[in-house]
């Protein structure tokens, strides 16, 4: 089943979607061969062979029996397809009992993750293999689409509403998350990953073991890690081509022209302010679209990021 998708299903439910896909492919494949076959066969078989014989064709204007057949047959076939598509879909809408819950908020342009325990993350969701998980989706600005191709599921994240989606991962690994509802300049960069961990690994991560041993990590190193993990690079480049926001390299210490004509010197305080209150001093020529990191970054994490940015001369 996996081979028809060319990328493997990562849950039992995804396998059922693949089965519906295959069923439709077989039915439509049959009608494809039938109709295209007749079209090509008739075109070749009944091409005009000799000039002047063009009006010696039979005067066939219709056939009631045939027409009834080709109204009834497609009706029955499409009803069958509807039924299987609906059946699998409705099963997939009812979450398994005992599902873990993860809150996902779409923002231009990142996925903000909140676990019930209070832990937060950007663009990266960790779940355990074998344990169903329910995603509670919302948005803080425009509509986004939360799409997990390997799990064959998708649901819009809508401001002012909570929508939901659940799945039951049965393969460990890292799987793509895409945004599928067009949401502006960073739309195609609004990617994340679902990391399915073995239960033991997951437990260790949950205890914070993954964070251990980093207490003595130098601040700039820690900042670099945070910049990578917080979705900053979706909009800011560290080197090379400009993205949606200003380039990070050479930023610290430079004179930054602001909207409204003034300039500001990019010192530590300016960098800190731009992370927690991005709308306060918007760089000229860039859209005022960055979300605040006030709640999702602790003060010392902001400090680490600033220290990292200082190294990018």
């Amino acid at each position: 089943m996996n081979s028809i998708q060319s990328f493997g299903a990562a849950s039992g439910e995804a396998g059922k979607v693949d089965a519906v896909f295959l069923l439709i492919a077989v039915i439509c494949g049959f009608f494809f061969l039938l109709t295209q076959g007749l079209l090509v066969y008739f075109a070749v078989r009944y091409r005009r062979r000799a000039a002047g014989r063009d009006n010696e064709t039979p005067r066939i204007t219709g056939n009631h029996l045939l027409e009834i057949v080709w109204i009834l047959v497609p009706t029955i076939v499409v009803m069958a397809i509807f039924y299987y598509g609906w059946k699998v879909y409705s099963d997939m809408r009812i979450p398994r009992p005992g599902a873990a819950e993860v809150h996902v908020t779409g923002k231009q342009w990142m996925w903000e993750i909140r676990y019930p325990g209070g832990r937060t993350a950007i663009n990266e969701i960790r779940v355990q293999r074998g344990k169903p998980v329910k995603f509670l989706l919302s948005s803080s600005d425009v509509i986004h689409g939360f799409y997990l191709p390997e799990f064959r599921v998708k649901m819009d994240a809508i401001p002012g509403r909570i929508t939901s989606l659940w799945l039951s991962p049965d393969r460990a690994g890292t799987f793509a998350i895409h945004c599928t509802v067009y949401c502006g300049d960073g739309h195609s960069n609004m990617n994340g990953s679902l990391i399915v961990m073995e239960p033991a690994e997951y437990a260790a991560w949950e205890r914070g073991a993954a964070e251990a041993g980093r207490a003595d990590e130098p601040l700039p190193k820690r900042g670099e890690r945070l910049v990578g993990a917080s979705g900053c690079l979706n909009c800011h480049a560290v080197s090379g081509k400009e993205k949606i926001g200003p380039n990070f390299s050479g930023l610290f210490g430079s004179k930054v022209p602001l909207e409204g004509g003034t300039t500001v010197s990019a010192d530590e305080e300016y960098l800190r302010e731009s992370i927690v209150d991005p709308g306060a001093k918007v760089v000229k020529g860039y859209p005022n679209v960055m979300p605040t990191y006030k709640t999702s970054m602790k003060a010392e994490e902001v400090r680490a990021v600033v220290e990292y940015l200082k190294t990018l001369r």
Binding site: R48, N55, T57, P74, I81, V142, K154, T180
Partner: protein
């Protein structure tokens, strides 16, 4: 009127003779030229998009520029080309000729509809000071927040919708009131049936999009908050309004092309159309059912599973009258005496590509697979097979078929076949590839993509270059035909419908004497069945 100089309705010269004309044929030709211009412009945008997608990273344009280009590509192709091209262009030219009438019912209204259309696209051109980046669907709240000139654009779309309503009204009245003596509804060419169904959709559905864009403008200018949850509005409401218009309108796009195919197939097979009544009534059935399925564009927008199930169920019913038409066209070929001039090649291409577009519909109509494929390249491939493989190929069939009637000159058949071959090849390489991209999960409207989608994108871009060459060759052939084609006889294809019973090009008032209709226009074939 200057009969007998071989130039018919084209004999008057000077820009006033066009700008103030009340002749439905001239208005049709103005619509054709205008819409073909936008088709070519929209095609340029498409080519730019494909070239950018040669590399996974943004290489030639910024993300913003890419987003503007795909919005312009979609919005122009839909609002300025595919909706008006066949109804307002070929429809205007042909409806009175098919009916045996001297003009449409309201010639002045007809001229007004053209100039309202022009006003609409001028307003849209004006909105390019801050070009739109919303996609052609304008989903809120993004469209209410973006810095682009969406308000100006809304006014432009409003005007174009108004023009569409005027044309639809005019056609309905014309078909009811101006049929030649003896032409009952069941003796009308099938193109007229399709135009009749199309006009009904235009008159009923278009006001909804007008109101929708007014609401969007009110949201932006007055901050009303219809779609803003912070003010008690509903962001998804816009999608309901939008698709309540835009779904029926896909049938405004496809039905007229189906009408063209129903005209061309019998002539080049020398066979009566098979199942005339089934084809005629299925047009009306499609128009009716088209109003009941809009929310199948919204299965992942948080509607209740029950609502999704109902809309999925209704969606599958539209497949039935559509399938009936395809079966009837194929049956018309049976035991025919078929020749493959360019109009027939394009009509057969329509059927071939439309079958692929149609058979990929159930993947999207079925809920389980829809959730997987929605907003991926599978959808892009599917609607290009129906809209471009269907409507545009039908339009090309019509252009090649009626070129001698419209211009009084014949096209170069060899050049027409060569450009057809390039278009057929390029189209399939471009868009069939996209089905694979979609099944593998590549979302649409992506300026940048994961490297795993690279090879398919390169193939699709190569296809789009072949397709572009084919279309350029076709346009070149049209220009050559117009300048130096051999003069066309009145009825080069020996067809039976009324437009071919006048000289090419027709006189200003179409017929010296209003014809008396005694039979349907598909009386080909001599032998008893």
């Amino acid at each position: 009127m200057s009969a007998g100089d071989g130039k018919g309705y084209l004999s008057e010269r000077g820009w006033r003779s066009w700008a103030f004309t009340l002749d439905h044929k001239r208005i049709g030709v103005m619509y054709l030229c205008t819409t073909i211009f936008f088709f070519l412009l929209g095609g340029v945008f498409a080519l730019l998009l494909r070239l950018e997608l040669l590399s996974p990273q943004a290489r030639y344009f910024s993300n913003h520029a890419y987003n503007v280009f795909f919005t312009l590509h979609g919005a122009m192709m839909i609002f300025l080309f595919i909706i008006p091209a066949i109804p307002s262009g070929l429809g205007n030219f042909l409806i009175p000729l098919h009916l045996g009438a001297r003009d449409v019912a309201f010639p002045r209204l007809n001229l007004a509809s053209y100039w309202v259309f022009v006003a609409g696209f001028l307003v849209i051109v004006g909105s390019l000071v801050a070009p739109m980046d919303t996609g052609w669907t304008f989903y809120t709240p993004y469209s209410a927040k973006t810095g682009a000139a969406v308000t100006t654009l809304s006014l432009g779309v409003f005007l174009i919708g108004m023009s569409s309503i005027l044309t639809g009204l005019n056609f309905i009245v014309t078909i009811h009131k101006l049929r030649a003596p003896g032409m009952s509804f069941l003796r009308m060419p099938l193109f007229l049936w399709s135009m009749y169904a199309t006009s009904i959709i235009q008159v009923v559905a278009t006001p909804v999009v007008g109101v929708t864009f007014l609401l969007l403008a009110a949201e932006r200018v007055l901050g009303v908050g219809f779609f803003d949850p912070a003010k008690g509005g509903d962001p998804v409401l816009f999608q309901h309004f939008f698709w309540f218009y835009s779904h029926p309108v896909v049938y405004v796009m496809i039905l007229p092309a189906m009408g063209i195919v129903s005209e061309v197939i019998p002539v080049f097979s020398r066979k009566p159309i098979f199942g005339y009544k089934a084809i005629a009534y299925s047009s009306l059935a499609i128009a009716f059912l088209g109003f009941l399925v809009w929310a199948h564009h919204m299965f992942t927008s948080g509607m209740s599973p029950l609502a999704n199930a109902i809309f999925s169920f209704m969606t599958f019913f539209v497949a039935v009258p559509t399938a009936v038409k395809v079966f009837n066209w194929i049956a018309t070929l049976y035991r025919g005496s078929i020749t493959f001039e360019a109009p027939m090649l394009y009509a057969l291409t329509f059927i071939f590509l439309f079958i692929i577009g149609g058979l990929t519909g159930p993947f999207l109509g079925a809920l389980a697979t829809n959730v997987q494929l929605h907003d991926t390249y599978f959808v892009v491939a599917h609607f290009h097979y129906t809209m471009m493989g269907g409507t545009v190929m039908g339009f090309f069939a019509g252009l090649h078929y009626w070129f001698p009637k419209i211009t009084g000159r014949m096209l170069n058949e060899k050049a027409a076949r060569a450009s057809w071959a390039l278009i057929f090849l390029g189209f399939n390489v471009t868009f069939f590839t996209m089905f694979f991209l979609g099944v593998r999960g590549m979302p649409r409207r992506y300026a940048e993509y994961l490297p795993k989608y690279h090879s398919e994108n390169v193939v699709a871009t190569i296809g789009s270059v072949i397709l572009t060459l084919g279309i350029l060759a076709m346009v070149w052939n049209f220009v050559q035909g117009l300048r130096s084609g051999t003069p066309a006889p009145g009825n080069p294809w020996r067809a039976l419908s009324l437009e071919w019973q006048t000289p090419s090009p027709p006189e200003t008032e179409n017929f010296h004497e209003i014809p008396l209709v005694t039979d349907w226009p598909y009386g080909y074939g001599t032998k008893k069945a």
